[in-house]
Symmetry: none
Subunit: 221 residues, 2 copies
DNA sequence: GCCCCACTTAAGCGTTTCATAAGCCATCCG
DNA sequence: CGGATGGCTTATGAAACGCTTAAGTGGGGC
């Protein structure tokens, strides 16, 4: 998940950036409203962490402009404790949640998690591994940038594998998540499915571990 | 943002109240039509979430009275699935959108966000995609510049698809927003509806993605 | 009360998808 | 080297899916 951090204070900004990266997010840190707005318009970020204490009314303006452009990327605003009106303005302007400075990193992490949980199923929700990108929202799959048409079962299999990319997924566990616990399914269905998926992607993307299961390597080396 | 919740059921009311507060809104929860009407007249709320299942025709009356008093606070109406007539009355009486009980909290949140975005956007109640233009205020639909007569359901379907134009909308999600959560509804009502809509527009505008759902392409190429 | 309209249900049909089966290939043991 | 096991590949019939048309249902307007 990619987070756009908009914060003009150097010290605070770098602290937040480091904290977010430690939590496993990728971060773009921008210092001013103008470049922030451009970045938001690109829709490259999955979440925006916006400081409302920017010089001028920059922070609010960014938000208002973005919402006017019908960009509904979730926005989490940060305000000073005394900035009650700013906070209210922020929510009015279309923020999804707010944090009061100063805050604990745990608080920030919790808000981000809650927000990403909330937007799941509504906005884009991508898993990316190597040359593969899988969008759970639109059910679209890209392989080396090209869209690939998958059936429901193929999609489910790919999702299961990509969700634990780099790790082996036991055959049994795959069968469960594809067909449910009632194993009425014949013992060869999975192989057929794997084959179909491989021929739509490439034969190297899905690796078999004899006797155990399958995996998608995280580093395609 | 302050939301006025009008709901007589204690359990449901407190559940919705908690959910809204978790989403960062402040909530006033009122149980009956009379006090609701007073509160609406104060114009203290930014949005009203109104249950039409109040005893008597209280719910509708509140709405009609409020609109008669020229109060244009957005109203999101909640109705039971079987209360089709109540729903129609609700929209006729001046509701801005409706939800069918029971609903997911995410659905409620999405509607509230969409509504608040809509009212913020300088009364731009239009969604435009390709040759399609849908006016949420007047419920008018234009296709290639020509007005098209749609029924309520067709309109709701088109709205759902256009609100996420360019993205796939899962069949399940469409069924939820059209019929509510308890899909007691027959399993091909949606297909019939899609067919009706396609034949009023064109057969290319709505694309099916087998096994997943439907979408309206943002770029008709 | 009657008719009309919107809507759901039902049924038929073509297409796609999927599980099964059956044969082939690779790897692992002796 | 050869059997055995596990995985790969391909073909096929059945089931699922979606489209379409037609018939049934129930509410609102007259």
């Amino acid at each position: 998940m990619h987070i756009l951090l908009v914060e003009d204070d150097a010290q605070l900004g770098s602290a937040i950036e480091r904290a977010l990266e430690r939590l496993g997010y990728t971060v773009s840190w921008l210092r001013d409203g103008r470049s922030a707005l451009n970045a938001i318009r690109d829709r490259s970020a999955d979440l925006v962490l916006l400081d409302l204490g920017l010089p001028g009314r920059d922070g609010i303006d960014v938000l208002v402009e973005a919402r006017r452009a019908r960009i509904d990327t979730p926005v989490l605003v940060m305000t000073a404790r005394d900035g009650l009106s700013a906070r209210v303005d922020g929510l009015d302007a279309g923020a999804d949640d707010y944090l009061i400075k100063p805050f604990h990193v745990e608080e920030l992490a919790a808000r981000i998690r809650s927000l990403s949980r909330r937007m799941r199923g509504l906005a884009v929700n991508c898993i990316e591994v190597g040359a593969l990108s899988l969008d759970l929202g639109s059910s679209e799959v890209l392989f080396r940038g090209q869209p690939v048409e998958l059936t429901r079962r193929e999609f489910a299999l790919l999702q299961a594998l990509m969700e634990s990319a780099g790790r082996l997924v036991r055959r049994e566990s795959l069968e469960n998540s594809l067909y449910g616990l009632d194993h009425v399914v014949g013992n060869n269905a999975l192989e057929v499915l794997v084959h179909a998926l491989r021929s739509k992607l490439s034969f190297e993307t899905i690796r078999n571990v004899r006797g155990f299961g399958y995996m998608i390597p995280r580093d395609p080396q």
